[in-house]
Symmetry: C2
Subunit: 410 residues, 2 copies
Amino acid sequence: MTAHTWSVPETEVVQSIRDHLDGRAGDPEGPPAVLATVVGVEGNAYRRPGAKMLLGADGEGVGAITAGCLEEDLASVAERIRETGTPEVVTYDLMDDDEDVWGLGVGCNGIIDVLLEPLTETYRPAVDAFETGHDVAVATVLDGGDGPLVRGDRAYYRPDDGTLRTPDGDPASDEWPAGLAGPAGDLAGRGRGDTLVFDTDGTTVEVFVDGVAAPTDLVVFGTGHDVGPVTELAANNDFRVTVVGFRGAVDLAERFPAADRTVTTAPGRLADEVRLDDRTHAVVMTHNFVDDRIVVEALLDAGVAYVGLMGPRERFEEMLEAFADEGRQFSESELAPLYTPVGLDLGGGSPYQIAHSIVAEVLAVSNDRDPGHLKEREGPIHERVDVGDDGGNGGNDGAGDGVDADAPTQ
Amino acid sequence: MTAHTWSVPETEVVQSIRDHLDGRAGDPEGPPAVLATVVGVEGNAYRRPGAKMLLGADGEGVGAITAGCLEEDLASVAERIRETGTPEVVTYDLMDDDEDVWGLGVGCNGIIDVLLEPLTETYRPAVDAFETGHDVAVATVLDGGDGPLVRGDRAYYRPDDGTLRTPDGDPASDEWPAGLAGPAGDLAGRGRGDTLVFDTDGTTVEVFVDGVAAPTDLVVFGTGHDVGPVTELAANNDFRVTVVGFRGAVDLAERFPAADRTVTTAPGRLADEVRLDDRTHAVVMTHNFVDDRIVVEALLDAGVAYVGLMGPRERFEEMLEAFADEGRQFSESELAPLYTPVGLDLGGGSPYQIAHSIVAEVLAVSNDRDPGHLKEREGPIHERVDVGDDGGNGGNDGAGDGVDADAPTQ
């Protein structure tokens, strides 16, 4: 396992799962890959519930679920699962004093529960949702108690239509807890995972609900050299990036390999080529005043979530004057999604530093955060996910990462 | 020229200059590489004065000085400079309406002055300063007027000893303007460039003063997989990164190829192996409570500029209790450089997103910035560098990048 394994974006883990399902990775005739998912965390185990690692039969792993604390041990458990074909929940109690037990010299605190299961077609709807861009919650039974559900049974909740379905797309049976929908919808939208416990019909059912939020779309307008680092950093931060060039811009896919999609079109025909809606985030950096103006108008008209416009404030004031000359006025609320100069105030001046500050801003806005120092944030660092009386163990409770997305904005 | 060319960190441009000077790049017997430096900017030309590009005789370029606006044209000017051996200052007037003149479909606004010169040993002290870690200002004559100085004459100002020296290390002659030292010291410390005009002895001398600030040291403590993306992002953002591992950690250089240096030592022997002073920035992520505690104490005792400590706030409170048990108390001012949880509040939870937020914080602190949105910053976006009566044209005045490091903190 290399450092690279740990730094892969989440989107690459999903892509690897898809490759395995499609028979493009591993040996299609051989034993299945094993999917390991963090389903519970107490203490300093670093990754959140929902963090995933795919363990191929060839020993290759994609993703990581701790900072190297138990990935090697997981490989041997995966071997067993491949033989039995039966999902397991393995609990690791990582004590600070036992730091060298796992042989990597990396101390790891806390208790972590990991679900390991053979990767099968029952996971495909999650991959498809990620691809098509809708949120979904994957409900997986960890413990069926005395009831009919057994470990590994799976259903999908889609908040957009309020349905709970089997992996085949049929309505899920009544055996699934009725109280699942509410917290599942919440977790799906936030892309968080949590283990929920339901007491129904005299038995206790434990379900891990894994919110798979669709990746956020980032559209980058421009084809200059400065577009490269923005595209690369955004893709690594799990944005689905589209680069848009004008006037017959060529070789965009080759020049911006990190982009999921490249489009060459005319400024006036944007809406035909690129989906612009209230989930769209956009960075405008064509370095052409007229192009920028047409794009900004189209984005604001479409009510996108975020427009970062490169250039000094005076340039945008000129742009507003040009709009006014055409009789176009923007209200304060129409201008709210517009950020110019683009980026956080990090003080860097190199192209890479500017790209870093731009992507940091897009991250903060897309996560609805006030991008101050975490140390200055008020309120508790840990906050429980409220799942009513079902007794969820708290989406991020105890996860020791420094960046806790569950706490409130300052 | 590829997107990669544009995204190289500044440190790589310097490394390339060193390689050419040492005969490790290009043809040592052939024509010299040409160094292009932005010496003046008005309007939207994106890079700041001091931005550099090295144009090899083989047509290879490292770095970029605009977003693709005129790099191709520069190559042909460089060809001429190689033949004549004479430095030139070329002015480009890039009008928005003429966006396609440069053949790249990238609109570029404004006027940009570029000094092009054959790369010679006179530039070596700048490279050495970068390497050894002291600030320096490179003073290069753009126009000597009727006096003895001619275009391309060079001297170095070191703010730490207040000397102005020739490239050979001798004291510079009195022909250099006496008023140079003040603004040169200021620009050196901030790593900014500016063209200064001096009226002396009845003639007007124009000097470009290029502040080469030593790269900021970032020491990362830890060897987990999460160290990889932090190291990589920090190096790309021009930090000089040292990774420190404990207890015989091996293969660090191989595992963290982006690090400038890797060290394996014992927590108690830190000070022998790593320079810790008031310029040091450090991220502590060993995931081992005891190691973290020893490192944090050593860093705070050394009075470093920044300590980012990974982990939730409660963990640090535990650490403070452990210190107190040993009779060690920290005052509020001693704790001021400590940031925990580490990172800006960007809301991301993937390892890469966490690394992005950590490096964003280090950037902001090292540049003394309050890391809010640039659009919310009060005060003027553009601010002139005050160089007294010498009439500097303003370090960042008119540079159209979204991230203006000259304006005051909010």
